[in-house]
């Protein structure tokens, strides 16, 4: 049963096929591109394709918020990849791939398995009819029944913020982490040995 927008079903189908094929191709290009920035922005293109399809499925808010989130996230991912990869811009084409065959088998296997579930599985046919109040329903849901999900997500995000900064930041409130911070003494009163001390070398 094909679903079209109010007065152009053919137009919606063509758009859907463009977005779907574009998204999958962009996904494939992600792991083929040499330059890290291109890989990140091919992933962003794939997400944009998915966001387009979500728009066609009348999940307008989800599609747009996915696009908004992914713009920031993919740029950060590109920046981090460029920061740590040996050859960030792909000037020396090399393939950083290992256990290639098992990966292909696993990928194709996952695809076939899930596709089979999708095609042969029976799913209840209860299509969405009135799509005007979608975002409002989500709002009511968030504040009403799923308020726990909403607040725990808040706490989880706080934990993420503190955790990621504690892990990543080198310079905390009391100065650089590895400077002057002495390892705890094994015996409570024993004099602690600071890393880099002359005595430290003899012992290690």
């Amino acid at each position: 049963m094909t679903i079209g927008t109010d007065h152009a079903p053919l137009f919606a189908d063509v758009l859907f096929w463009m977005l779907a094929v574009g998204s999958v191709l962009a996904g494939w290009r992600v792991f083929r591109a040499d330059s890290m920035v291109r890989a990140a922005y091919w992933l962003l293109a794939s997400f944009a394709g998915t966001a387009g399809i979500l728009l066609l499925l009348h999940a307008r808010f989800l599609g747009l918020i996915l696009l908004l989130m992914m713009a920031g996230e993919m740029t950060i991912m590109a920046a981090f990849m460029v920061m740590f990869m040996m050859n960030p811009a792909g000037l020396n084409p090399m393939n950083m791939v290992h256990q290639h065959r098992t990966a292909i088998i696993a990928g194709v296997g996952a695809f076939l398995g899930l596709a089979a579930v999708g095609v042969f599985g029976e799913f209840p046919a209860r299509p969405l009819l009135d799509a005007s109040q979608v975002t409002a329903d989500l709002g009511v849901e968030l504040l009403g029944d799923s308020m726990m999900v909403f607040e725990t997500a808040g706490v989880a995000l706080l934990a993420t913020m503190i955790g990621s900064i504690a892990l990543a930041a080198h310079r905390g409130r009391f100065g650089p982490a590895d400077e002057g911070s002495e390892p705890p003494a094994l015996v409570p009163e024993a004099e602690t040995v600071r890393p880099g001390d002359s005595r430290d070398e003899e012992q290690s």
Partner: protein, 117 residues
């Protein structure tokens, strides 16, 4: 109006702009660009290496903070739509959510994670 129209318009504008750029670039007689004209501009001296490098972004702690804080917007848009209908309960719930997230920013500020590393 259908949002697909907006999408189409974006794709259309981008491709048209791209084609105009390429065609106009081509209209001016284009010899191939000689090597000395390709030298990156540093004020007169040649660069010793490629500029593409493992660029040390000094604000990586702030970027991580952004990743987590970005989710706050996702929850705030639907809240804004139904806020007036739901009344003060919604206000209190969102206030709790926001205060929790502001604690994260306070922690990052105190740890100096917002400054350049």
């Amino acid at each position: 109006m259908i949002t697909a129209g907006a999408l189409l318009m974006v794709v259309g504008t981008t491709t048209i702009a791209l084609l105009v750029l390429r065609w106009v670039g081509g209209a001016v007689r284009r010899e191939t660009i000689p090597e000395p004209q390709r030298l990156p501009f540093l004020g007169g001296n040649p660069p010793t290496t490629h500029a593409w490098s493992r660029y040390h972004i000094r604000y990586y702690a702030m970027a991580l903070l952004f990743l987590a804080f970005d989710m706050e917007m996702v929850f705030m848009y639907p809240w804004a739509v139904v806020f007036v209908r739901e009344g003060t309960v919604a206000l209190v719930e969102m206030l709790m959510f926001i205060v929790i997230l502001l604690l994260g920013i306070l922690y990052a500020w105190r740890e100096g994670a917002l400054e350049w590393a």
